[in-house]
Symmetry: C2
Subunit: 228 residues, 2 copies
């Protein structure tokens, strides 16, 4: 079954095109992935990253993607959308309260204890890479990430997933961790690398990634000037 369906009740926003460094990492990927895991049909509303309509802020207060709607809710923040989907599909979030809450704790750990530091590394290596300050700052950011990754690897303890089965917590954590592969940091942590590879091998992840990338290919700027 192909979850992409123009008549689906679930609608996501995504960007029609983003620069190459962001392709495959924009956060609608997390929601596409969850929807593929449960084969839930959805449609995508594409926005121009360079000129978002002012009224979009009513759906997403910070102008980001994804925003999400279905017959029941209108939401923003990928973490919240994943919790909503998890409450509908126990394959994504266990129904028993204690297990459910542990899973939500790991999802929030991904969003609040790992992603902010990964984001700082992105600032240093991508958004500000030729600026003088990054020379002094980068080793600090890397040290701090190394400490966190070490703690995360210990907590994972060679297990397959963060909790008893694959869940929305893994979707968040893997989405964040894979951003550090290119700079070599992830390779320093073999169990985390294997964890990310295990998740990326899931057919639902592959389909979600391929669908995000297909939209970018279809909306590639024709002239270099357009990509500025």
């Amino acid at each position: 079954m192909m979850p992409l369906d123009d008549n689906a009740a679930i609608e996501l926003t995504a960007f029609a095109w983003v620069p190459p460094f962001a392709q495959g990492y924009v956060r609608d990927l997390r929601i596409r992935w969850a929807l593929e895991e449960v084969a839930a049909p959805y449609r995508v509303r594409l926005l121009d990253v360079r000129s978002k309509p002012a009224e979009y802020l009513a759906e997403q207060p910070f102008g980001q993607v994804p925003a999400y709607r279905d017959e029941e809710v209108q939401l923003f923040e990928s973490g919240a959308i994943l919790i909503h989907l998890g409450l509908r599909h126990s394959e994504l979030l266990p129904a028993a309260h204690a297990e459910r809450m542990r899973t939500i704790a790991w999802l929030i750990a991904g969003l609040n204890s790992i992603e902010p530091q990964v984001g700082e590394l992105g600032s240093v290596d991508v958004f500000h890479k030729d600026e003088a300050w990054t020379g002094e700052r980068r080793p600090q950011v890397v040290d701090s990430l190394r400490r966190r990754f070490g703690q995360l690897q210990s907590a994972l303890g060679g297990a397959e997933w963060l909790t008893a089965g694959f869940s929305i917590a893994d979707i968040v954590m893997v989405s964040v961790l894979r951003e550090t592969r290119e700079c070599g940091l992830l390779d320093e942590f073999p169990e985390l690398s294997a964890y990310v590879a295990r998740a990326e091998a899931r057919p639902a992840f592959k389909q979600a990634l391929s669908d995000q990338l297909a939209a970018f290919r279809a909306h590639e700027p024709q002239f270099q000037g357009e990509a500025a």
Copy 2:
């Protein structure tokens, strides 16, 4: 009723003492506040911030506070603990699904769209304040926070709280915003300042703050060398 109770089923961890800049801002405050709002008794297990027992990582994988336990769950991440408490107490999190999910979306916005940037400002102004790189970086961090605060103020739109009534989303957002008061940034946004002041005027907030600070006063290092 005094929620602090040595025989309570709910146990939080907190630090016995932290340096002055962190006093009144450590994250157990968020949980104390929520528990005061619903008059739920709790006890506190104090940890030494300079020498946490290795086995504490089993409770809190990153060695932070708070960790939380009650007769039902063992949790970490203040956002997850707040969701758990919200599911028990509809005064903290509405029971209707759509409203509940909007509230969780705002809680996660606080944790993932506002707090990381506030944390970067803390890195610049507190943790690394005399380092050369911060001179070039600080204006970028402030500009980016100004844009986010402007969007947040627009979304709040003069309302009393982020959603229909006071909730765990406000506990998170206010806890994050108040960290920017001292540097003057919060004052640039009168509606956000008023929102923070409104929350800080709640008796539950005042009691929680006073209880966190009382523990620090009781465990003040006796000699300057001890505070290093």
